[in-house]
């Protein structure tokens, strides 16, 4: 897979609270011979607040980014963030309707293209890089590391829009990590919600939902939870103490991005994978797994 160039939309949190996701994704992609070309002058997709306010506004905010991708001469863009992905896909799908496209374009300076497709970097790893290539790059398998994969809501939902993996029992991350020589425990709450954007306005709700996930992970004696979503990661990791306080628990559960573990298995440096940016210290867990 040499010299593949893909358009890459990091998403706002990639420049802030999930900097390590952005960093580790780029690091692993580069290691596998993929150049992630950042979308020029991208802007926020509007996330869930935008579509909670208006579907046309939401499509326009993402539509602007699709237009940016088109202007780079690309017709495929990848993003690590499921929420961004959901909005980009929604916009790309919505503008196929002439009526909606007219409304969206009336908000935009440049027309929203109808031929740009968005996929997640997770899907890109699975379908375009391929498990074989990933497996070949693994130098440091971690057979004693027991993890659960937590996908959250939006990676595969709604299935008609996302067209990726099984909406009830997704296996893409499981398969990638098993390929990386990591033990993946079947996780029944794979697609339950972590509380999403309610961390700030209704912390009571998100704490309870994130708590369920952490409880189940620790009951299954997982060493860590692996995620593919910045919002899930934030709720489970940065807010883990809030969860502990609200639920009366004492979790110290590391929450990795799957790209970080991919990188570790490929022998890439912790620094380039942003491990130090995780709120719950992953070192004890990694030490147990024999990662230095």
């Amino acid at each position: 897979m040499n010299n593949t160039v893909i358009a890459y939309y990091p998403g706002c949190s990639g420049k802030g609270s999930s900097a390590e996701y952005d960093l580790s994704t780029r690091t692993v992609l580069r290691h596998l011979g993929v150049d992630a070309l950042e979308v020029e002058n991208w802007s926020c997709c509007g996330s869930s607040p935008a579509h909670a306010v208006d579907h046309v506004l939401s499509a326009a905010l993402s539509g602007r980014n699709l237009a940016r991708v088109r202007s780079m001469g690309h017709d495929l863009v990848t993003t690590p963030c499921p929420s961004c992905l959901s909005n980009l896909k929604n916009a790309a799908h919505a503008v196929r309707d002439d009526d909606v496209r007219a409304k969206v374009n009336s908000l935009l300076d440049e027309e929203c293209p109808t031929d740009v497709e968005a996929i997640s970097t997770l899907q890109f790893f699975l379908e375009q890089v391929g498990l074989d290539t990933i497996q070949e790059a693994v130098v440091n398998p971690m057979p004693t590391l027991r993890v659960v994969c937590y996908y959250g809501c939006l990676t595969t939902r709604p299935p008609k829009l996302m067209c990726f993996d099984d909406p009830e029992n997704p296996m893409s991350m499981d398969n990638i990590l098993e390929c990386c020589g990591i033990e993946v425990i079947p996780f029944p709450l794979k697609v339950d919600c972590c509380g999403a954007a309610f961390g700030m306005p209704r912390n009571d709700i998100s704490s309870r939902l994130s708590g369920n996930i952490l409880n189940m992970a620790s009951e299954l004696e997982a060493d860590a939870v692996v995620v593919a979503c910045p919002l899930c990661q934030m709720n489970l990791d940065l807010r883990q103490n809030q969860v502990n306080k609200a639920c009366g628990t004492h979790h110290q559960m590391p929450i990795f991005y799957f790209t970080q573990l991919m990188g570790l298995s490929m022998g890439l440096s912790k620094k380039n994978l942003g491990l130090s940016k995780l709120a719950v210290n992953p070192e004890p867990c990694l030490a147990r797994a024999g990662v230095r």
């Binding site: 099984d166 909406p167 009830e168 029992n169 029944p188 709450l189 189940m216 009951e219």
Partner: protein, 656 residues
Amino acid sequence: MHIGVFVCHCGSNISGTVDCPQTAKAAGEFPDVVYSTDEMYTCSEPGQESIIRAIKEHNLDGVVVASCSPRMHEATFRRTVERAGLNPYMFEMANIREHVSWVGRDKALNTRKAIDLIGMAVAKLRNGTPLFSERFNVTRKLMVIGGGVAGIQAALDAADSGIEVVLVERETTIGGKMAKLDKTFPTIDCSSCVLGPKMVEVAQHPKITLYAASEVDNVSGYVGNFTVQVRKRAVYVDWDACTGCGLCTEKCPSRKTPDPFNELIATTTAINIPFPQAIPKKATINPDYCLQLTKGKCGVCAKVCPVGCIDFEQQDKIEEVQVGAIVVATGYDLFDYSVYKQYGAGKLPDVITSLQYERLLNASGPTGGHVLRPSDGAEPKHVVFIQCVGSRDKSKGRAYCSSFCCMYTAKQAILTKSHLPDSQSYVFYMDIRSPGKGYDEFTRRTQELYGAQYIRGRVSSIHQHGSSLVVRGADTLAGMQVEIKADLVVLAVGIEPSRNSQKLAATLHISADTDGFFMEGHPKLKPVETNTAGVFLAGCCQGPRDIPTSVSMGSAAAAKAMVLFSNEQLESDPQVATVNATRCVGCYKCVKTCPFGAILESEDRWKNPKAEVLPTICKGCGICSVTCPHGAIQLNHFTDNQLLAEVNAICPLPTI
């Protein structure tokens, strides 16, 4: 010609939106129409009498009735005009109910349309000719396809009336799904006690020939004279010799063979007899698991068999059977519920189907009738039943109700309580459908006497949590989410037509509805007939049915066959193709397109090539008529001129 037109009011069904008197008056203006009138109910006894009277009084030689669909009453009125001495094919119908009064709202437009349709019928009739049937012999032998309870009933009823019956069963034993059940609702009587004697009767009946482990490969011919090719699958045992002693099954070393009779919750031996009451009670080798057949070494069964009936070289055998009628009773299969990923997709051991649960409840099942859950063999305490899994679910392509799940779920809840007095059952349902004698009382009893808790709502997901299953559902009556920690979950999985039924439909030239169930001849009046003469339906192959209804259908189908066989000879439908030999140039284009091989490459007296139609084989499709450029082959009653007359009646030939 002297044509009479009779316009039916059909109560207010037609006259509500069509001006019948005006229609009749206008019909009187059509050429050759000498009499026209309107009647309240043309199909009623007085209605028919007035047609007969009119034929005699006005010397009619053709009749048009404008009423309902010809698919409804064409046969009725043909008999009526025949009673008055007319040829039954000098009769036409104008469909002014289904195609006019019931679909159009504007009375003036409807009336005009009704008049037009009568004009078309009159035009067609003016180009019609009397047709005469041929008589042919009937093979008084019935084939029943499928040996479940419906097929067994049909076979026994027909055989008891003296008809030879051939019963073809795909599995190695008859009995169907009912043989797997423990008890039946709403009487809680033992399923095998009811069915067992009937199975034995089949085996012993002198008029019944049973072909088990057999399938229908091909069917040709027509009502009264079908030729059926039956494939007898290789079972690697000479059944004529096998005594069913079971010695081979005791010694067979391949003990991990999946057991379909036990719905795959248990294993059996590679050579096996599905269950002790099997009919025929003969051993069968599963070639995928037999060590001799897969690896070429073992042969223990052959060594121990006291009569030497093991035959590893046995091949499939095709036998040809001549029958006069066929009853299809191929039953159902369970919907593949693994598409419900949120219910574990078949991967959670303690989430099982209702039919698997029957085997756990059944004393002859793998647990000897003790309810022990598959994962750890423990007795469950909290048992959750989920209804409508693969029923009434459009998103899974199953919009229909499987009809009997509500009742067997109630039965299973009762049986759970009697097997495990300390247990508690929960039933998630959307609606309780219990419209039968004693049925609703039964579901009430399930709750009132046996304490099953009914929760109105669907289940969103099931996941494993430790050794229990967390069932997350809703109680819409309370308007709350509910969660149950269950030890065992039983899915009332919906039913679908049994596998390969699509292929069988094509073989038999019968049609299937959008869900794949075979189509009955008429939803009300011909529930066990099909649109192919001589082929009848019984049981779940026609739609979800419970046992009593399946049995009734079996009897009804047998009765239909008896009616057919009560005639020494049958009359052929004269609506077949005929060749005008003077026009035929012998290119045989028609021969090439006939799907039934009903046209022969023949010759006339002067050895000129001519096509010839075999009227008993011709099914009257008319494909041939269109292939012939000179119109030498015409389909009776649907001739070019009859159809052109209809066209010209609506759109008259233009003049300059």
